[in-house]
């Protein structure tokens, strides 16, 4: 029984640790970027960050090319 409790508690701790890991290590608590190099790379190499900050696209303009 004690062994089961140990595993459950350990599991919960691991889940909490993963969940609390900072999503964007280049951001401060206030959300500002911390630059160690180019801000271009900080954003454009980070798929999740790009998804978060991307502006919605306007509706497609219709068929392009040969029509």
């Amino acid at each position: 029984m004690n062994q089961m409790k140990f595993f459950i508690i350990s599991g919960l701790i691991i889940i909490l640790m993963i969940g609390c890991t900072e999503k964007y290590p280049n951001k401060t608590e206030t959300g500002d970027l911390v630059l160690t190099g180019s801000s271009c790379e900080v954003c454009h190499l980070d798929k999740d960050l790009l998804e978060e900050v991307a502006d919605p696209l306007p509706p497609p303009a219709g068929d392009g090319g040969e029509g």
Partner: protein, 372 residues
Amino acid sequence: MPPLEAWEKVYVKETFLTTTHGQLSCISCHGGNEKSTSKEDAHVDIVANPSEYDDIYCAGCHAGTVSMFASGLHRTQEGYYTIFEERAGFDLRDHEDLQMEFDKECGKCHTTCGQCHVSRPASVEGGFIDGHLFRKTPSMTNNCTACHGSRVGNEYLGENAGFRPDVHWQPNAKRCEFCHSSQQMHGGAGPLTMRYDTNNSAAVQCEDCHENVKSANDYHIRHWERPQSDSNLSHLQCQVCHSQDYKNCNACHTGGDGITGSSYMTYKIGRNPLKSAKRPYDYVVVRHVPIIQDTFASWGIDNLANFDNLPTWKLATPHNIRRWTARTDTTGGVTRCSEKCHDRGTSELNTYLRESDLEQYEIQANQSVIIP
């Protein structure tokens, strides 16, 4: 082709940083402010498509190609201007208002280095193809057929219902570059008025590879080699026998209306409207193009003054070649020339472009093409 997601268009892969282009600082090509921590400030004065200014951003390393591409049809869109002038009677570039309309509606077909080698073209809303990695040879689906899809792409890949792919198409092998050289794509023939310009020395022709079968069978001898002894034999473009039906379009209007009516598949033989040393054929296949007298009405041109100067059925080079087609397949004992082609307009084959195939508004324009 559905556009990429907004983030996907600008997502850079880590591996890009190890490539030659990735060694350059971002701002050396794209400008902007790399020290800013706000999205808006970082993008002030950004150059999203540096190769729009290829003489500044690309010529330092690719001087020869940039110089050649300056006269490339993909860049200049000269064919549009040539045909417009022929039908309208004036050069639209002399009219600032018309040039603005052209840039807005037709300019998406103008291509830059980047729109072939790193991103999708503007006509399909752009975006990196592979995390900013450059490709020496453009992607067939993301670049070539992104623009040349509804006719060339669908023909070549066999995506028109009831028709087969081009015999040259072998997945992952014979893509566009199998026939279309880098020199041709970059304007290596020098300034041209359009792609069928007689000076287009870089344009590919079937004969470039297949000259060795010129006398391989009686049909080739009669319609290609043509012995001097028989002056009545007509010279046929290869596609006359070897192409399947292809897509044709009706009238098109600027200002958002686009193509009027549905496109349709058909096949028509006409007289060669662009006979030259490079295209000496007497007969060619012709495709209906989406033009009508008031196509540019939204630009203030209610009627193209010289509409009749050019045919609306134009020389075509369909990309759906097969050895055996409705013309060449004699399975079942159909061997008489009259049963496949020489029907004199009396059978249901209906392969020749006749005046009866034309709408009233285009009869005069097609006199040089129709077969009496």
